[in-house]
Amino acid sequence: MRKRWLALMTAAAMALAVGACGGDDDDGDANGAGDTTAPAAAETTTTVAGTLEVTEVWARNSPMNATRGAVYMQIANGTATGDALLEASVPAEVAATVEVHETVPATETTDTTMGMGSDTTAAMGTDTTMGMGGSDTTTPGAEMMTMREVDEIAIPAGETVALEPGGYHVMLIDLAGPLTVGDTIDVTLEFREAGTVVVEAEVRETEM
């Protein structure tokens, strides 16, 4: 009896997670016990609390020696309540640690170098030096980029937030092995309102 319950929960979680990411992952249903779950069509958007949809989940394939990877996705909050992505995890055989990060200009991090950097995003060839010197030759409009861990990603009510290259991403740390095109990774997401959502990331070369 417990097994069937588990199957139901898993199928429910899978059902709500499988957005447009091409997933008809038919491994979610226990044999024949399946039709008590929410509509299991690939496009389902039902969750317990409302409508939170996670789609386009993908990870970039990695070089052999890479120790880090990134997972991207689209999170659409169709509810009337703001939500937030709090954390993520993957099986240990994929990576040891998972963090949520944001790529940002280096001036936005707390350990910035000297210089209050108020003019770093000016477009017209402003001196973007961070005090490192030799900035005359820096490409106009370019600035140092870095990443920082974030405690949460807010998903405002009615909005879609993209985790995409150059922005937010779920970072996989200490990869157990390279990510190969065609692999799939189960990513468990924790949301403040929607709770636990498991999604399947496709490993691809690029988002296109």
Binding site: T103, S135, G141, A142, M147, P165, G167
Partner: protein, 212 residues
């Protein structure tokens, strides 16, 4: 990402708002049109032809920052532990090369700003992973002065994040721009991070015609 690209293009004044969808003009550029580069250009262009760095993908031999005759050399400063910007850039370049079938005419070099963790082997493998069909170079030096002068020539800044000695889990902030270098050692166009592979392909198409 789009904002960054728009900013960069705005700065050079030559672009069209950076949507990169110029399909027609770049491809059919044959006789009468003057196709426009959409990346950032400077007058005079940066001259980097005097910069040389050891190439771990070529047994440590020095690579000089000039393209082979008839070809182009793309140079990027990054590090392999970077999970987002660097692989995205490498991947975008690879996609651009495939779009115009130019893998044989465009060499790609990455200079590591993190030589402590990016060993010769790691860096070479990284470049081989993204560019199996192009000449690729894994530029690495532990000589801080040499790296600093190379960075300065390109206007690159980088900074290793403060971390406890012995720990291995730090970020490296760095200027994220791809530099397109010609045979004379001039940077003919620059692509700040965020520029699409379509724009790269378009610019490369124009430049390769000029280089041929």
């Amino acid at each position: 990402m789009g904002l960054l690209a728009a900013t960069a293009v705005g700065a050079c004044g030559g672009g069209d708002g950076g949507d990169g969808d110029d399909g027609g003009s770049a491809a059919e550029a044959a006789a009468n049109e003057t196709p426009t580069l959409q990346g950032v250009q400077r007058t005079p262009p940066l001259a980097v032809g005097a910069v040389t760095l050891p190439d771990a993908a070529n047994a440590g031999e020095d690579l000089t920052m000039r393209a082979r005759p008839g070809a182009l050399l793309l140079v990027y400063f990054g590090y392999t532990m970077c999970p987002d910007i660097c692989p995205t850039t490498m991947s975008d370049i690879a996609v651009a090369l495939r779009k115009i079938d130019a893998a044989a005419d465009v060499d790609v070099a990455m200079v590591t700003v993190d030589p402590a963790r990016d060993t010769d082997e790691v860096l070479s493998e990284y470049m081989g992973h993204f560019f199996p069909n192009s000449g690729h170079h894994a530029l690495r030096t532990e000589d801080e002065a040499l790296l600093a002068s190379a960075k300065e020539a390109f206007g690159v800044q980088s900074e290793i994040e403060e971390h406890a000695p012995g720990t291995d889990d730090y970020e490296v902030a760095h200027t994220a721009v791809t530099y397109v270098v010609d045979e004379a050692g001039n940077v003919v166009v620059e692509w700040p991070f965020g520029i699409s592979s379509d724009v790269m392909a378009s610019d490369l198409g124009i430049l390769l015609e000029e280089a041929a």
